[in-house]
Amino acid sequence: MWFKRRSIITYTLLALFVYLSMKLTEFDLSKFRDFRNMIDFLSHWFPMDFSLLPKILEDSLETLAMAFLGSFFGLLIGLPLSFMAAKNTAGAPFVYHLTRVGLSFVRSIPEIVFGLILLTALGLGPFPAVLAIMFHNIGVLGKLISELIEASDPGPQEAMKAVGAKNWFASLFSILPQIWPNVLSNYFYRFEVAIRTSLVLGFIGGGGIGQRLFNDFKTFQYTAVSLDVLVIMIIVILVDFFGSYVRNRVI
């Protein structure tokens, strides 16, 4: 009844793609024969070296600051741009198209590419990493918020025009309260992503706990690596909790 002959082709194609992808990625479960090695390797991670905790916390703070500044500046710049990138508030069509294209351009460049360019130009350290995170988040938040704006209820906007408010103000004042909880929700998600990004940026010299993790790993200090990882996990979980707390307070 629901099995059509055409489905055979679909499933065959799907199987083919899975097979090809496995070939390309050298996907091979038989490699787990040496699973013992992994256990042996992981056993070097313990016991954790807690004497390093103060330094690790200091670096974590730097990572948090990087992620926060990068994503917050991204929001600050992305929010006004999102109004120009939404059909219902852009005003002129060329503003809408220009902003859209601009936002997808910055969004299409991965943070790591921004990072590599900026770190070369500005030198090692967290500052270029903040900028890299910021640029990417302008693109991402600008697009996400512009979609919230386009989906917002046009009624209040009309009412604000009817009381005689200026057009730009009518849009801003009626739309922002509607989308605010979702803006925050998106922002906190991006903040969380920015923490992970700043770890990767640390690997290429962007500072913070990412750089420490990378250095510890490369110098075989596995008892430090394990503590780095633990602290990173705790931070991500804490930020997630904080984010949902703020969101619940706002809604």
Binding site: G155, E158, A162, A165
Partner: protein, 257 residues
Amino acid sequence: MLEIRNVTVRYPSMKDNALNSINLTFHEGDFICVLGKSGAGKSTLIRCLNGLQKPASGEIVWDGLPLSTLHEEQLQKVRREMGMIFQHFNLVPRLTVFQNVLTGMFGYRSSFKNLIGWFTSEEKSLAKQVIQEVGLTDFMDRRVEHLSGGQKQRVGIARALLQQPRVLLGDEPVASLDPGTSDRIFSLLKEMHHRHKLQTIINVHDVQLAKRYATRIIALKEGEVIFDGKPEQFTDDMYVHTYDASGYSERPYTLTT
């Protein structure tokens, strides 16, 4: 005085004109109800009056000023003299009753003051006064989404009143309310009409309500005025003509095909 001269409105998505060369004059002191089927052009008519909808041709004239000749800033000054209430209330969500009512003053203040929400104590007491007039004093600090439909429309009315308007426009303000609440909203509107000397122009579906409260009824059909007169002149025949209904033996036209 508010005048509609030869106004035609066309929507790109529609074949027929939403309004077809309409001429109407609204006099001060009238409480006007506009009747007509859905799609007859009632909303378009109301939205033309304060320039939310621009006519394809013809002219809306307010106090001798043709609206099409005004630039944005002058149009905003006209709009603040015309309060407007809506079917879906169109309150700003997540703000309180008090905050929503205060927005009625936005047309008189600078955008900067509006943005930071700075109001003088005089402005605040004016807002409290209109909230009292619509009977919502006990709900002042309640968020608008926690109110009932009737209460939301009272907020809408208070917001419009704070504009100190000369005209009150209503785009189906009771269409999503139950009959009892609709009647109470209309009697409030009538009271405000008298007290604030408002020229009131409202769209309704409920003919009984229109006949009970209006001093003049206008009926639209397919973008044209088919009736303009006193409520008692709006006969049953006129009702049938306006709504293509024949009382209790209404025939669904889809069956004839």
